[in-house]
């Protein structure tokens, strides 16, 4: 695939993931505001999340959308602001994607199933 074809595909996936994230972030912001009242304790958080399948599915989808969206944005910034070449920025983006996926799903597991 040429550079332009890669660019077009990344543009597409950036937008598709953005559409999913728009929904996820609205829900997440609402939960943040609802949960924030009077401070947070582990009992508050885990009481809501442990064994909650709906929570797990929603946040796993959120993590996957971030896995797609965030590395593409960082790749663009690395190229435009740091002058990184396409290959270096793509390798870095893949590493970022793998980190977000693993750390994100691990965090969901930690509050739902551990």
């Amino acid at each position: 695939m040429t550079g332009a074809a890669v660019q077009a595909k990344l543009w597409y996936w950036q937008r598709i993931s953005a559409m999913a994230l728009a929904v996820c972030v609205v829900v997440h912001l609402a939960l943040i505001v609802l949960a924030a009242r009077g401070g947070l304790t582990a009992a508050d958080i885990l009481g809501r999340t442990r064994g909650n399948v709906g929570f797990a599915v929603f946040y796993a989808a959120f993590v996957i959308a971030c896995t797609v969206h965030v590395p593409i944005g960082l790749r663009t910034i690395a190229q435009e602001w740091l002058g990184w070449r396409e290959r270096a920025s793509s390798v870095a983006a893949l590493l970022v994607a793998a980190s977000i996926l693993v750390l994100g799903l691990r965090a969901v597991y930690a509050v739902v199933a551990a």
């Binding site: 937008r15 953005a18 559409m19 994230l21 728009a22 972030v25 609205v26 997440h28 912001l29 943040i32 505001v33 609802l34 924030a36 009242r37 009077g38 401070g39 947070l40 304790t41 582990a42 009992a43 958080i45 885990l46 971030c66 965030v70 944005g73 960082l74 910034i77 970022v96 980190s99 977000i100 750390l103 994100g104 691990r106 965090a107 969901v108 597991y109 930690a110 509050v111 551990a114």
Partner: protein, 116 residues
């Protein structure tokens, strides 16, 4: 005015820079957020220990800032999707205003909840 200054004076330049910087900040925060939640792997006490550590004004201020950045990135992102996929043409300057409006409202509501 030089070309570069004229560019920076345009509302859509501000929309661009806010979207990029908020995205960058959120991307840097994300792994820390995941690592913090993963302290629950060691049990509720470990998560509580972490939450106690974060219960200080400077951390609360940073959390508040991240919530505002998330609201800004959300609304600015919806503007971009509307420009690229919506039936209108133009720069949707009304959505630039909406971005800062939503950021302000979310910031105020979250601050009130923290204080409650």
């Amino acid at each position: 005015m030089s070309a570069s200054l004229a560019l920076h004076a345009h509302p859509s330049w501000w929309a661009f820079i806010v979207h990029r910087l908020s995205g960058l900040a959120l991307a840097l925060f994300l792994p820390l957020h995941f690592l913090a939640l993963a302290t629950a792997l060691a049990g509720a006490d470990a998560l509580d220990g972490f939450l106690r550590y974060t219960d200080r004004p400077l951390v609360k201020l940073a959390e508040w800032g991240l919530v505002v950045l998330l609201a800004l990135h959300l609304t600015g992102g919806i503007r971009l999707l509307l420009i690229e996929f919506g039936p209108w043409s133009g720069l949707r300057k009304d959505w630039i205003a909406a971005t800062f409006g939503v950021g302000t409202v979310v910031g105020l509501v979250y601050a009130l909840r923290l204080a409650a």
